[in-house]
């Protein structure tokens, strides 16, 4: 986080408001509990103690979309599930981000047929795609850090 000046021994830092806002947004992003298939196991492994997601403030996975700001779509989404997914995404409050975890959420994966959505970006706008089948916890954490970098580079307070 960009520290602009530190005034002597007073323990005061100054920074821009945008950087402070982005810092606050990245430091405790609560994921929505949205593990659908096998990638959910890897998501759980990432949240477990060995590859901790708690160091990013993300150990708190909220089942309610109103209280979550990150949706990690972990697993294949069928055509029956797609309206449900969209409704949950619409119920999340701004600011919200989506990580498409795994091959099935990114592009349909191995399932190229009538029943599976070929990529969850057919229904929701995705910020970060994490490849893998399933992606290892390190890969998912890399995806989360990429999202953090993306948010740090964004300018939420500028209009247009």
């Amino acid at each position: 986080m960009g520290v602009e000046t530190k005034l002597g021994q007073m323990g005061v830092v100054t920074t821009t408001l945008e950087e402070a806002v982005n810092w606050a947004r990245t430091r405790a992003m609560w994921p929505l509990l949205f593990g659908l298939a096998c990638c959910a196991i890897e998501m759980m492994a990432t949240a477990a103690s060995h590859y901790d997601m708690s160091r990013f403030g993300m150990e708190l996975m909220r089942p309610s979309p109103r209280q979550a700001d990150l949706m990690i779509v972990a697993g294949r989404v069928t055509r029956k599930m797609a309206p449900v997914l969209r409704r949950l995404y619409d119920q999340m409050t701004e600011p919200k981000w989506v990580i498409a975890m795994g091959d099935c959420a990114s592009c349909g994966g191995v399932f190229n047929n009538y029943a599976v959505l070929q990529g969850v970006d057919e229904v929701v706008p995705v910020d970060v795609y994490v490849a893998g089948c399933p992606p290892r916890p390190e890969q998912l954490i890399h995806g989360i850090l990429t999202l953090h970098n993306k948010i740090k580079a964004s300018k939420p307070l500028r209009q247009g």
Binding site: R86, N112, A115, Q118, E122
Partner: protein, 170 residues
């Protein structure tokens, strides 16, 4: 063939118009559609075939007569034997009586067969789609249903595929 199975099959042959086919240890009994409920009832009540392990269908398109075979896999815990019943049905939306009264777990199996093949079961309490969305048109596991795959997107056809991809509105 198992002794017990021999007994069962001979009895079925006397009482109903069935044909039997054996392959190694497996026995398939071809039952006409009108008699399937009676046959299932007999097998359950008199011969201890108390478990309907599976109820599916097979599509033999483009062979039209008969187009579908509905397959019932029965199992008897007491005697440790498996029996298969096949019901040949024909037509675009064939229909046969439900065995839900005999084996209650046939409920979801028959819904799945309706959803995937379009075979209607008369007398079923809840005939609606179970795997596909409720307003889906078509029966996916029929042989004349398109595969529904997306063309792989390489660099030379990147833009054509990209234009046709469905995207969210917001």
């Amino acid at each position: 063939m198992d002794q017990y199975l021999d007994l069962v099959v001979n009895d079925l042959r006397e009482r109903f118009q069935v044909e039997v086919e054996t392959f190694r240890d497996e026995v398939s009994v071809f039952v006409p559609p009108e008699q399937i409920v009676e046959v299932c009832q007999t097998l359950r009540d008199e011969y201890n075939f108390d478990f309907l392990a599976d109820l599916t269908a097979v599509d033999y398109w483009p062979q039209q007569e008969p187009r579908f075979h509905v397959v019932y896999q029965l199992y008897s815990y007491l005697h440790n034997v498996s029996l298969r019943l096949r019901v040949p049905v024909k037509g675009e939306t064939p229909s046969l009586p439900t065995v839900e009264g005999v084996y209650p777990n046939a409920n979801w199996y028959e819904r799945e067969v309706w959803d995937m093949f379009g075979i209607h079961f008369e007398g079923h309490s809840d005939m609606r789609r179970i795997l596909m969305p409720f307003d889906w048109v078509g029966h996916p596991l029929r042989k004349d249903y398109p595969l529904g795959y997306e063309e792989p997107q390489y660099t030379f056809n990147f833009h054509e595929i990209e234009r046709k991809k469905p995207r969210p509105r917001a």
